[in-house]
């Protein structure tokens, strides 16, 4: 493969990876605050993207406003689910909550199918179709746009966690919930904030990815790739989620060019298993120390 073609594949891999990274960040934000793996994160992304699409078609909104609709829908959905369901299971084991989020994901997917059918729909893109020439390489504006937008969101998240009161509270709860509560942090409010924040990040990821993979009730399955990415980077680590997402995206895009069709789709998973065998807590993760 020529260097130009390679660059093209790597860049589109990074674009896919950015989406995985955003979704992985959503999972990690919820996990760090509540120690819950939210199976329904992908379906929440799907529902908010569908809401944006409906609003855009009904009122002929500009795309940026449609994106805002997605964000608001995602945030409201997260708030309602957290209040009505997750909050009630606060004393339950992680296993029970896992099944609850799984149930939510099934219900949301089926519900979306009833409202919007299970067909695929094209989704308008922010970006132009014409490739940008960079020397001999031709890069898709969509890829560059997705990468750029994702980097902006990641930077915003990093700033939020570092410099705001809410971010500090979320980090404190992630470190030690009881100590955080004793310091006067409302852990319940942090739970709700984590769900809403994760849903907002997911909604933006949904609007970014929908033009590429089409809008459908099955697009929530992207949560499996996001989970893979988060584990690859080290579950709980936010830089890890970004690294894992990018790595996974590039591997997925490069593998078909070098490998026979029989193992093409297995490669990301084989890489994952190999990395976990060497580093049981992912690339940047740390094993939690347990006390007796």
């Amino acid at each position: 493969m020529s260097a130009a073609a390679l660059l093209h594949v790597v860049v589109s891999g990074l674009a896919t990876g950015s989406i995985y990274a955003l979704m992985a960040l959503s999972l990690v934000i919820v996990y760090n605050a509540t120690r819950t793996l939210n199976f329904a994160q992908g379906e929440m992304l799907m529902v908010s993207t569908f809401a944006a699409w409906s609003a855009q078609r009904a009122f002929a909104l500009p795309l940026l406003l449609a994106c805002a609709v997605a964000v608001v829908t995602g945030a409201l959905l997260a708030l309602v689910l957290e209040r009505l369901v997750i909050r009630r299971a606060i004393g339950a084991t992680h296993w029970d909550v896992l099944i609850i989020t799984l149930g939510l994901s099934l219900a949301l997917q089926a519900g979306a199918g009833l409202v919007w059918t299970h067909d695929q729909f094209p989704f308008p893109s922010f970006f132009d179709n014409r490739p940008i020439a960079l020397g001999p390489a031709r890069l898709a504006p969509a890829s560059l746009g997705i990468i750029g937008a994702s980097l902006v969101i990641m930077a915003a998240l990093a700033a939020l966690f570092r410099w705001t009161r809410l971010g500090r509270a979320m980090r404190a709860v992630a470190q030690n919930q009881r100590a955080a509560r004793l310091m006067g942090i409302s852990v319940e409010r942090v739970y709700a904030a984590a769900w809403v924040l994760a849903a907002i990040v997911g909604a933006i990821a949904g609007v970014l990815v929908a033009p590429v993979i089409f809008l459908s009730s099955k697009m929530g399955l992207i949560v499996v790739n996001a989970f893979t990415a988060a584990v690859l980077g080290g579950f709980g680590s936010m830089p890890g989620a970004v690294l894992g997402g990018m790595l996974l995206g590039v591997i997925e895009n490069l593998a078909p060019f070098y490998l026979p069709s029989g193992i093409r789709y297995s490669v990301p998973f084989l890489v994952l298993i190999a990395i976990l065998v060497v580093r049981p807590a992912g690339l940047l993760g740390r094993l939690e120390q347990r006390k007796v």
């Binding site: 793996l37 339950a92 029970d96 149930g103 089926a110």
Partner: protein
């Protein structure tokens, strides 16, 4: 307790005469899923190793049994099932040993990845598995008898499931079983008391894969047709649902969970596109009002 067991045994034996033909088939599926759930519970419930890859183990058992029956038709079905279970156990050990260092979500992800890899491998091993076209499984043979009816297959499943269930219940009385129970209560305490946690976690992986492999063999005979997409990640997730809804670390809980989930899936089939919606809402309601699953709910009722 003894009386209840006799009653249950009698019901199992008489079922094909009591129920219409379709429900005989459904009962076979329930029992097969119960075997998988028991196997998964040995791993997840006792040694706290969550697996999202048991559909992969089921597939290995199923394809092994199917290929053995096609290429060595003289083998009695019991030998076929034991071979299917053993091969799956070997794969389970080969996969489980490197995974010993993993726990929690990392293990869940590794097993999920295992499931994907197995499904794609089955698709690409076309000369053997016929890939996406699927594989027709000939009827099982036991001595001179061909088990070609739903009733015949049901009895095969019932006997094997009863044996494996009894073995799992009695496991608690063996050294291995006590070690697994100790690990279930507290891994660190077990290790401090001299239980080799790594060793018993490996044994649990092998045992779990064996159970699932045998169940896979039974599945091949009962369904009669195998295709790789039947063993997708949703099936693995279903197995996890069974043991959590039933109750972690409990054999009767595994059976109850398998029965509830299998019958629900089947019963809701007529609701078509509403099915996942109802199933999902049921899961949420069930876990909200019955934390710890059916086993905890029954225990709480008994205590009253």
């Amino acid at each position: 307790m003894g009386g209840a067991l006799v009653l249950l045994g009698a019901l199992l034996a008489a079922w094909p005469w009591l129920a219409p033909r379709y429900f005989v088939f459904l009962a076979s599926l329930v029992l097969i899923n119960a075997v998988v759930a028991i196997g998964l519970n040995l791993l997840s419930g006792y040694t706290n190793q969550l697996s999202f890859g048991h559909a992969g183990f089921l597939a290995i058992g199923a394809y092994t049994a199917a290929l053995l029956t096609i290429h060595a038709p003289a083998l009695p079905v019991i030998v076929t099932l034991v071979l299917a279970g053993s091969l799956t156990a070997v794969v389970g050990l080969a996969f489980g040993v490197p995974c010993l260092r993993l726990s929690g979500l990392y293990l869940a992800m590794a097993t999920l990845a295992f499931g994907f890899v197995i499904a794609e491998t089955l698709l690409s091993l076309e000369p053997l598995t016929h890939g996406a076209d699927g594989l027709r499984v000939p009827a099982a043979r036991l001595g001179g008898v061909t088990l070609a009816t739903d009733t015949g297959r049901y009895y095969l499943v019932a006997v094997v499931a009863a044996l494996l269930t009894a073995a799992a219940v009695n496991l608690a009385r063996t050294r291995t079983g006590r070690a697994l129970l100790a690990i279930r209560e507290s891994e660190i305490a077990a290790q401090a008391s001299g239980v080799s946690v790594a060793r018993y976690k490996t044994i649990a992986f092998g045992l779990s894969a064996f159970y699932t492999g045998v169940a896979g063999g039974l599945f091949a005979f009962v369904v009669g047709f195998l295709s790789p997409d039947a063993f997708d990640v949703f099936l693995s997730v279903d197995f996890v649902v069974m043991i959590i809804v039933g109750g972690l670390g409990s054999v009767p809980g595994s059976v109850a969970g398998a029965a509830v989930v299998t019958v629900l899936h089947d019963g809701l089939a007529s609701f078509q596109s509403y099915r996942p919606l109802i199933f999902g809402v049921l899961l949420v309601v069930c876990m909200l009002f019955m934390p710890g699953g059916l086993t905890s709910a029954v225990r709480a009722l008994a205590r009253r």
